[in-house]
Symmetry: C3
Subunit: 274 residues, 3 copies
């Protein structure tokens, strides 16, 4: 039995890109379970892809191969890598930081290898789609049991590209954040966690003010969607632990006129608190 592959990309599901990777995996490692974590990462958003790969770790199979393809530098000198960690999962993807939050969550890099063996690459390797010709074949061979050191020469763990995410600014009564992501419902995921709300003294404030550069709205501090009236804003902790701004049966992103990367401030509201 082959190891399962958890596959994340920004390739989208409209085109044949993801399907071609699935075809390659089925050819090399028949019967492999492929879990499509998401292919809707916004194009070239390495940061968000890195977050999702790190977050899925404790939910997926411990023997997974994690395959990440968010690769704005495809065809340039950036390396294609496979990473063995202190955990049981193996990571495969471009050396652009996409895998770095996952290997940190797994206790760090133990060994890393470039993917360059002619027995692994599909040749001629397309200069524009390493997902199909480099990363999917490597993940499939690992799923089928190939030893990681057969993929290519070893790479220096200390030289791999590693991400640092922007931290929110925590002041007394104010949390200054950025929008990490906007989901299909228009909910905002901010780059802050419950501990940041607490640090700003906002964790027990019932009515918050959420501000963009365009406008300010009142929002209730809640734990679920169901406590909020239609059209009302709320601040809650989302399923992955992020501070999230939602608007019940409406679109918080549109209402606040913010998108990914935009700044958002959370403060105690002057009104509505006891």
């Amino acid at each position: 039995m082959t190891r399962p592959i958890v596959f994340l990309s920004d390739l989208g599901l409209r085109d044949e890109f993801v399907g071609a990777c699935h075809a390659v995996i089925a050819r090399i490692a028949p019967g492999t379970t492929v879990i499509d974590l998401s292919h809707g990462v916004p194009p070239q958003d390495v940061n968000l892809g890195a977050l999702l790969l790190a977050e899925v770790l404790r939910y997926g199979p411990d023997d997974s191969i994690l395959l990440g393809v968010v690769d704005p530098g495809v065809g340039t000198a950036r390396k294609a890598i496979a990473v063995e960690t202190a955990g049981t999962q193996i990571l495969v993807g471009p050396d652009n930081g996409l895998l770095s939050l996952a290997w940190r969550a797994l206790g760090g890099v133990r060994r890393a290898f470039e993917i360059s063996s002619p027995e692994v690459l599909l040749t001629p390797v397309s200069a524009v789609f390493h997902g199909r010709d480099v990363f999917a074949p490597a993940a499939a061979h690992l799923a089928a049991g190939l030893s990681i050191d057969r993929l290519g020469p070893s790479a220096d763990p200390a030289a791999l590209v590693s991400l640092t995410l922007d931290e929110p600014e925590v002041g007394p009564g104010t949390l200054a954040c950025n929008v990490l992501d906007v989901d299909r419902f228009g909910n905002l995921r901010l780059n802050a966690r419950a501990a940041h709300l607490e640090g700003a003294g906002l964790d027990r404030v019932q009515t918050l003010s959420v501000e963009s550069t365009a406008m300010a709205v009142q929002a209730r501090r809640t734990t679920t969607y169901g406590e909020v009236g239609i059209g009302e804003y709320a601040v809650l902790i989302d399923a992955w632990g992020w501070v999230s701004v939602i608007r019940f049966e409406a679109n918080a992103s549109a209402g606040l006129d913010v998108d990914r990367g935009d700044p958002v401030w959370i403060r105690a509201s002057p009104e509505g608190n006891d």
Copy 2:
């Protein structure tokens, strides 16, 4: 071998929600076949989700676990349930009516259980995403052979939330319907079946008038798309038995300016009939 899971939700495929559920299933029940019936149910449209779950029953495997996640009340007092029916399938989802059309199609509820066992829930259970922490684990454990009565305490079948769908109004020569759904081609699925057309005396009328509050168009009564000219409207029975209004290589929803939930009237056209 594990039982297959048929998975329907309103979670969409842009984000990582569906992928996280797949990861959970693969961790608990490795090798399980998961059939993604649809994740494009419009957000919180419990009625449409319920219809789709009932309709797929005779097409999917008889030993399926049906997993439904359309859950506007997540985090509130609504129960998470698993339902054993007179049929062989087991149903898993929120107690909001989403499963009720399926259990009626399967001959009714035999036993029902709340999903609350700490051996099943992924803790801490997110207050906003029971798909990942409650429903997917329950479906996976059932797929792997766990007895349904191990999920939690039994629930009173008579107390479960059950849906009744709006019936169309059938008058002599007039069928007053609502739009159940608009598909990607802009085809309208109405809440009426062939028997309703017949009841209104419209089943053998060659040229019908289809009316929204905005406008009226002529439509041919056909059985297939291929009989209709480009841009022409037609009324036909869709693949699930619903009366459907289509516009060949064009968009009926846009043409009639109607969306889900809007009223539509079907009458004999004053013109074009022998």
Copy 3:
């Protein structure tokens, strides 16, 4: 073990159409690997679907059943067919040319059969969705080992519908193409390959002019995305060998105001070449 199925359609992932086909396959051939090549083929674009089915052949498993559902003539007299080729793959789909580029790539048709056996069809066969009631069941039975001649009567290979794609016009210094497809990034795939660029004497020209009926832009001849500045146009060979016009971190389709089927001319730019 069953044979894998590679599934391509224009059914989209918003609705339950693809999911219903998966359900049918899982019922008839439990445990079958289904590779979703793409369900985002633009509605009724038989040409693009045919290209994708032919291109995936060398990436997917050699024992695949290829299932294609782009079927504007559903319910008309067009035949449903299964095709055995000089290769090992079997092709299943409507007789409208969708399979023809694949069978040509596989060395031609050896035997073909209509899909009409009552043991294969799901009855009553919907007049509007043969994907679920005709093609998916046929593919599943073949995956499970049914002999192709059990699907129905043999069909004359010479009478099957076969596609010919428009060739670009190659003149000295000019390549006149059409847009085959626009991907999610707005990249244009043209109906030309590297050999056509060469034939026009444009393969070593560093700066090209790309012209639509609306406007002309300068584009660099590159091999990868990474060499181009943000907002710049480039002409490169895409992952499947097609001449492609891209715009780095921007949308070439919008910038040139072209869509599928529109003409595009490539010439040497009067400026920017040594």
